[in-house]
Assembly symmetry: C2
Homo-oligomer: 267 residues x 2
Amino acid sequence: MVSEADGAPERPARTSVWRQGKSPGRGGRKSERRDQPEDRSPRAAESPDPPESAGPDSNGSAEPAGLGRDRITDVSVRLLDTEGLAKFSMRRLAAELGVTAMSLYWYVDTKDDLLELALDDAFGEVRVPDLTDEDADWRDQLRELAAGYRTVLVRHPWISPLVGRYLNIGPRSTVFSSAVQGVIRRTGLAPLGLTGAISAVFQFVYGFGTIEGHYVQRCAEAGVSQDEYYRRTRGTAGDTVEAMRQRDFTFALDLLIAGIEAMRARE
Amino acid sequence: MVSEADGAPERPARTSVWRQGKSPGRGGRKSERRDQPEDRSPRAAESPDPPESAGPDSNGSAEPAGLGRDRITDVSVRLLDTEGLAKFSMRRLAAELGVTAMSLYWYVDTKDDLLELALDDAFGEVRVPDLTDEDADWRDQLRELAAGYRTVLVRHPWISPLVGRYLNIGPRSTVFSSAVQGVIRRTGLAPLGLTGAISAVFQFVYGFGTIEGHYVQRCAEAGVSQDEYYRRTRGTAGDTVEAMRQRDFTFALDLLIAGIEAMRARE
DNA sequence: ACCTGAACACCGTTCAAGT
DNA sequence: ACCTGAACACCGTTCAAGT
């Protein structure tokens, strides 16, 4: 929502994963895909849906060491972290879970749905500032949110290409997006400038975190420190990579904040 | 270089495609991959390399309607535009060229190399301003370059995920990067702020163009206008999507320029 | 010099079937 | 309710061989 990149999805983005809180959903045998909003009610199909045996909250301690959507999502995130998006496959994940690939399709309609779940989990890691605190400086809150987003992008490099692939309307993504809007609203910019300012700031953080994560990953794969890698590709040494990067990030964020203040004063 | 997104490459980024101007390169039977810079001189292998029969400039009109790296690259770009990155395969491309997939490997070592070539071609479409013109306002030149980058990102949505995948040191990419640096240098910012300012501006444009391209693509796939799509997903109508977007882009760019001026005055 | 056929080790997903 | 085996239609890439 805030920024994105493309991995060229095969089918138009849908929102099906989020149709029901977290209960595993049947795929429906024929996968009738329509873009009409609300074309299938939560459990309207002809098949006998699960009777929700453990009461309204389906994840007590009742999960009998089985799969479950939560466990599948957790292991997906771990696998994506360690092996990367390119090597992530349903078969590989299933093997990790000690099960065949086809079992996964009971909990998830497609691989894309699974990735949406993992992505939303990752967004849950971004700490959001308390927007009801009227004494807090919006600049500090903006810096906190930007830093948090950057950190997550670097910690989970696979999220960058996914951010643009889906609509990102999962619960945790929504919390993040709302926080972004909330912080920018506190700047005192005129309403017409809000979305532009959101773009300016968070597209920047997205791009910055994306290269940074990529760089870190490349170094790890090459078995080389960031400074060593830099020395090899750029030649000149001098400062440490992390120091240069932190300086650039801070400078750019200060630039954006100064820009916001200038625009606010302009109207 | 200026910004990137990740499609999770399988192997560490190399620079092999650019080792020789544009002559097709043999793969080398065993593909000895080392990261040492300059570990293989242009033509030092044991295999008998092509004798460059048509003189130093290999592409006169001597291409006998065969493949050739240029034609392969051109068709790749066209295919990527029409069918997207996900559906782009060596087999599909070969079919388009009326040849088997394996033929391509005579001209290109890997699919990644091919994508690097296509990406560089796309960067060649960005018009760069005349940086030697001292009378020109850097703000105008910045706006021109930003608009050009945005346009290319939207016209070729597949480049977004590739920008981060490779080093982008092809000839056309290099021209673009140099122009970016040149424009920012003209702002009068102190040297330490230059890279940060480049980040702020071009990561923003990258992110902005990426969502925009994605949105356009999604609408096209759904066979629906942008405004119709917006109405369906957001509900409220009012302004046209293109108008809102242009307003946001302009506002954000103005914000960034104001930010640059503020930072310049600060030192 | 250029191109191919056959093969290897993978994919995501469906379907009918098991318990 | 949950899981599987077999199958379909794909991948990128290698290798030995053709002309």
